[in-house]
């Protein structure tokens, strides 16, 4: 019969502990270094990170550069101002649209990253649940096996007791007495004249009381 299993034999190995330790350190590193960066990105994205101002400034500069070059003819032209107004509005419209595009892209990228983090955790949760389920099943199965083994052991003991009792009853007329070799005061077997040993009924008490 083998020795009882020891819990320490089922502890994580050094490699397991190192792996978990490094993973936890990396996770903490991520949370301390990268998570704040994503939060900064979130705050920048909320305002478009100045893209609108930059692009409108550039649109304004392009318009002025193209339409305000020094020219007497332009200065005298009565449609110059109107044309410039239209061009200016058009350029600002393009700048606004590009800025909004950038802002939306930044925002959705931040959300995708944040969501991916949560999704990774959720996938982890499913894995953890799977591991827990395996543990729970193994534990239930073990309990079941132990209970069954106890019942089987009790049945075996009961069967053996019944058989012995029956045997005793057949030889001595009592379930709790068995036929054994009689001994003298010194504990030596008593030999009969025909060379056989004398027998006597022995009870459970006499068995333990024998010196």
């Amino acid at each position: 019969m083998g020795s009882k299993p020891k819990k320490k034999d089922y502890q994580p190995t050094a490699a397991d502990r190192a792996s978990a330790s490094v993973a936890m350190a990396q996770y903490r590193y991520f949370k301390e270094k990268y998570d704040p960066l994503l939060q900064q990105m979130r705050d920048k994205a909320a305002t478009g990170d100045g893209a609108k101002k930059t692009l409108r400034g550039r649109g304004n500069a392009d318009t002025m550069q193209a339409l305000t070059a020094p020219s007497y003819q332009r200065a005298q032209n009565i449609s110059t101002a109107g044309d410039m107004a239209q061009a200016y509005q058009g350029q600002l419209g393009v700048a606004n649209r590009s800025a909004k595009d950038i802002e939306n892209m930044m925002k959705t990228n931040v959300l995708k990253s944040a969501r991916k983090q949560a999704a990774t955790a959720q996938t982890g949760m499913a894995q953890a649940a799977r591991l827990s389920t395996s543990d729970a099943l193994a534990r239930a199965k073990n309990n079941q096996d132990v209970a069954q083994a106890k019942l089987n052991a009790a049945a075996q003991i009961g069967t053996a007791g019944l058989a012995k009792g029956y045997d005793n009853y057949q030889s001595t007329g009592s379930v709790f007495s068995s036929e054994g070799i009689a001994r003298d005061a010194n504990g030596n077997p008593i030999k009969l004249k025909d060379g056989t040993f004398k027998t006597e009924n022995q009870t459970l008490g006499s068995l333990f009381g024998r010196g």
Binding site: Q39, V110, S132
Partner: protein
């Protein structure tokens, strides 16, 4: 809009972890000891969700609202119409004065009318373009958000499916174990009965 800042739920989480599956060393220079990876994993997962809600929940809600209600491009175009007229009138007047040119009253009146007309037409076009652009932007943003949401939905469904499968496996294992237990109990009782019968004289 000011969103939540910092590590949110992580700090109390690290505190809670001490003495459970995880001991924080308080420094990245050292490796933390993880005595119960299963517990640490479960806690991280739970707190990742809380972190998201804390740090990005409002941000996401604002973005969803923006995809449906944003009129910033149109509003900006309207503002620009008003400023463009004054700006370009000033540019034209300064240019004219630099060259010493003098417009006749009729020319000046014509220029004003032309500027006003151009500004009005340009403004109308600008606002209409902004409307189209706004619609395009909002639709694009909504599409992106729907894709993100679809990913969330898919992950959640998978997770729920996994939970259901786990529950089913547990139930199945319980039923199997119960049936096995009954069978073994009857088998043991049968052995006992057979042994008893064997000992009865005359049988």
């Amino acid at each position: 809009m000011v969103y939540a800042r910092g590590m949110g739920q992580l700090e109390p989480f690290i505190g809670n972890m001490t003495g459970r599956g995880f001991n924080s060393t308080g420094s990245l220079g050292y490796l933390p000891s993880v005595s119960n990876p299963d517990q640490a994993f479960a806690d991280i997962t739970r707190n990742e969700y809380l972190d998201f809600i804390n740090n990005y929940g409002d941000f996401e809600n604002d973005l969803i609202a923006q995809s449906q209600n944003d009129t910033s491009l149109i509003d900006q175009a309207r503002e620009d119409v008003a400023s463009a007229s004054a700006l370009t009138r000033g540019v034209a007047q300064r240019n004219a004065s630099r060259y010493g040119g003098q417009l006749t009253p009729a020319q000046r009146q014509q220029m004003d009318r032309r500027l006003e007309l151009s500004n009005t037409l340009g403004g109308a076009q600008s606002v209409n373009d902004a409307r189209l652009a706004q619609r395009e932007m909002n639709t694009g943003l909504l599409n992106e958000l729907i894709n993100v949401g679809q990913g969330v939905n898919e992950t959640s469904q998978n997770q729920l499916g996994q939970s259901a499968a786990n529950a089913s496996a547990r139930n199945q294992a319980y039923q199997n174990a119960r049936a096995q237990s009954r069978a073994q109990t009857y088998s043991t009782l049968g052995s006992l009965g057979a042994a008893a019968l064997f000992m009865i004289p005359g049988i």
